[in-house]
Symmetry: C2
Subunit: 155 residues, 2 copies
């Protein structure tokens, strides 16, 4: 079964494809919606955070997707399955990131913390809800803590 | 630009399409991965929560998608844009839900709280991270609080 999707808009920011060591948390991006979808944004400004679903169009592999990977390419970290990581190299190339919504300007959403290159196609936008998206008692793999420590030391 | 996706697996649970007033938070579902993707799950059992990205294949509209809606079809609530709601009727039909991972059994993930009907195609699975997915200072629209109050009273 094949599923077809179409972008609803694009991401614009200062991060050109290929730049490395980007501190995405502090990057401001503009999501520009196609005219036919703009009315669907009404009321979104009442939310402080939104979930952006985007298409990882620069992470295309040549048909040979690896099922296991060292998180963020760090050999010090254990090799784990791609579904246990947020690697951009995944079967359907879907990125999901929660971002802070700074403001809406008509057909544009200005957001902070979106880890996508300039020009990335957007597939969907959802409000981040305190019931469902914000969960308690979260346990993460030990390697994530080590990864975040590395990233903090390099920042 | 058209984007093509393929299911990586299916959701199995006791909730047949069309059932209403389902308390999804307490539903246990099994995500069954296709054989070629199973190795990609390795290490996922170290996470307490995962994000399931699925295809809302029963929510197809007849080409006439409404851009504004009363959340969960409740006329008491304000009409807002679809991107300000989690309505299943959306341009690309992508559902994103954070669920508790109860356990992995080979090619199966047993999860709690997945709001998808039996047979729903799965597009991606990601670990829920304390950095990024769990945010602080979240503000939600007033109508969400009223909706949750209604749902709690009906439960």
């Amino acid at each position: 079964m094949g599923i077809r999707m179409e972008p609803i808009g694009r991401i614009a920011n200062e991060v050109a494809f290929g730049r490395s060591n980007v501190c995405w948390e502090s990057i401001t991006s503009t999501i520009m919606l196609l005219p036919q979808w703009v009315e669907g944004l009404d009321g979104i400004e009442e939310f402080s955070h939104i979930i952006v679903i985007f298409y990882l169009d620069r992470a295309k592999s040549d048909g040979s997707l690896r099922l296991k990977t060292h998180p963020m390419g760090r050999p010090e970290l254990p090799e784990v399955g791609i579904f246990a990581t947020r690697s951009p190299f995944r079967p359907n190339g879907i990125g999901v990131t929660t971002v802070r919504l700074l403001r809406r300007e008509g057909d544009k959403l200005i957001v902070e913390g979106l880890d996508a290159y300039d020009g990335t196609p957007v597939l969907d936008i959802k409000p981040y809800l305190t019931r469902g998206d914000l969960v308690s008692g979260v346990k993460v793999a030990g390697w994530t803590q080590r990864l975040w420590q590395m990233l903090d030391e390099e920042a």
